[in-house]
């Protein structure tokens, strides 16, 4: 399959969470690292996020959640992607996420979780190392 020369990322905020600073900072950082970032805005259901990811044919779905709804929304996004032919898309999460929730989230298929204080550099490097570019 032909590859494109850049990484395409969907940055999405699932649920009713209105904290968007982190998501916007991450979006800008990825843009500055040469990636193409699709930002879908606040209050998206997992279904809407997955549909956007598939129509936009992204390599990465980056979920940001500070409201505490991550235990439902993150695994649900992974599950829907798998059902709809997007199993090869890298799913990442970030935001205010308690340490003890992280193992189960990773178990569900979220590749990595980035909590407050994470450097932009670490996020960019992780994506470059793990995105399966199509």
């Amino acid at each position: 399959m032909s590859g494109r020369s850049f990484i395409r990322v969907l940055v999405a905020k699932p649920g009713l969470d209105g904290h968007d600073r982190g998501a916007k900072i991450v979006a800008r950082a990825l843009r500055d690292a040469g990636m193409e970032v699709i930002y879908t805005g606040l209050r998206q259901t997992p279904e809407q996020i997955v549909e956007a990811a598939l129509q936009e044919d992204v390599d990465v779905v980056a979920l940001s959640c500070l409201s505490g709804a991550h235990n439902y929304s993150f695994p649900r996004v992974v599950e829907l992607l798998r059902q709809q032919g997007g199993a090869d898309i890298l799913v990442l999460g970030g935001g205010v996420i308690p340490e003890e929730d992280i193992p189960a989230l990773k178990q569900s298929g979220v590749k990595e979780i980035f909590t407050p204080g994470t450097t932009i550099q670490a996020i960019v490097e992780f994506i470059r190392a793990h995105a399966i570019q199509r």
């Binding site: 399959m1 032909s2 590859g3 494109r4 020369s5 850049f6 395409r8 979006a27 800008r28 990825l30 843009r31 500055d32 690292a33 040469g34 990636m35 193409e36 970032v37 699709i38 930002y39 879908t40 805005g41 209050r43 998206q44 279904e47 809407q48 549909e51 956007a52 598939l54 129509q55 936009e56 044919d57 709809q84 032919g85 997007g86 090869d88 199509r134």
Partner: protein, 320 residues
């Protein structure tokens, strides 16, 4: 991952996931993309292409969503191509137009794709014409293209669509003289959006005055895209414009021009790659003469071009 033959089959079956993969392939622009386009080509019905342009923040995305909704409501299949500028330095981009699509996202018969301006000088991505062809072959009735009204976007959009909607807002267009040169000429429909704000009527009247001097009758319509006020009038103006173009042959003319331009550009891109390689070959061993100024690059360039053309003819003859 879907491989190419499966991809053709899925595409022809109407699978939007296959369409999304195909758009990426075409955007990457390799030889496989050319083969894919050939495999899914079909005769017959074409889509109606509508371009929306105007300054950032004018409400183009909001308006695009409302127009798409009206077309979907009457049973049309609609594709949206939403373009935002890419950084000329890193190639990166934030494509945020989807934020305005929440009300329609998820409707059946709708495909939404965000595109960076990658590789063009502030205009439309070079991949737009082949992507439009894919969308037409997929069976969409209407394709709406949103562009940012900066750089080359206006010239590009005119050469890419059937009807151009130029969006402006009160205040911004207060002084019509100050509007970007050329923007008045390209509009088939003018929209003064944010009509809930002061000065909308004045802006509309000024535009009407300015447009009277032009060669064609262009409607100026006031809208409030956030609430949907005035959208029905935009849709009927676009319908009327389309019917007029169908009747007077303008539609065919615009399509011909568009196809010719894309065809020329593609052929030229292939030749220019070959030419560049060949010129480099020819230059080996002679660079010192150019570097010292003994041979000037323009004389040399003409000689090489003429030699390349002759070589082109003989190699064709040999192939026959």
């Amino acid at each position: 991952m879907l491989y190419k033959d499966d991809l053709v089959q899925s595409f022809l079956r109407g699978d939007m996931r296959a369409l999304a993969r195909a758009v990426s392939m075409v955007e990457a622009g390799d030889i496989q993309a050319e083969q894919f386009l050939a495999a899914v080509a079909r005769e017959g019905k074409r889509a109606r292409l509508i371009g929306i342009t105007g300054p950032p923040g004018a409400g183009k995305s909001t308006l695009t969503a409302k127009l798409a909704e009206s077309l979907l409501d009457r049973g049309e299949r609609v594709a949206l191509l939403l373009t935002d500028p890419s950084s000329p330095f890193t190639g990166g981009a934030i494509l945020g137009d989807r934020i305005r699509m929440h009300a329609i996202a998820g409707r059946s018969g709708l495909y939404i794709r965000s595109l960076g301006s990658r590789g063009s000088l502030g205009g439309l991505s070079r991949a737009v014409p082949p992507i439009v062809q894919l969308l037409e072959n997929f069976g969409f009735d209407a394709i709406i293209l949103e562009t940012v009204g900066t750089g080359q976007a206006e010239t590009d959009v005119v050469e890419t669509v059937d009807s151009v909607v130029v969006v402006t807002v009160p205040g911004l267009g207060d002084d019509v003289q100050a509007m970007k040169a050329g923007i008045i000429e390209i509009a088939d429909v003018f929209v003064v959006n944010k009509a809930d704000r002061e000065g909308a009527e004045r802006t509309a009247r000024q535009l009407e005055e300015a447009l009277k001097l032009g060669p064609k009758a262009v409607p100026v319509l006031a809208t409030i895209a956030t609430t949907g006020v005035g959208i029905a009038a935009v849709v009927s103006s676009l319908d009327a414009h389309y019917q007029t173009m169908l009747a007077d042959g303008e539609l065919a003319k615009r399509r011909d021009r568009r196809l010719r331009k894309a065809l020329h550009a593609y052929a030229a891109s292939i030749v220019s790659v070959r030419l560049a390689e060949w010129v480099e070959e020819q230059l080996t061993g002679h660079w010192a003469d150019i570097d010292s100024g003994r041979i000037d690059i323009y004389t040399c360039g003409r000689r090489l071009a003429e030699k390349f053309q002759k070589r082109g003819v003989t190699s064709n003859v040999r192939e026959d």
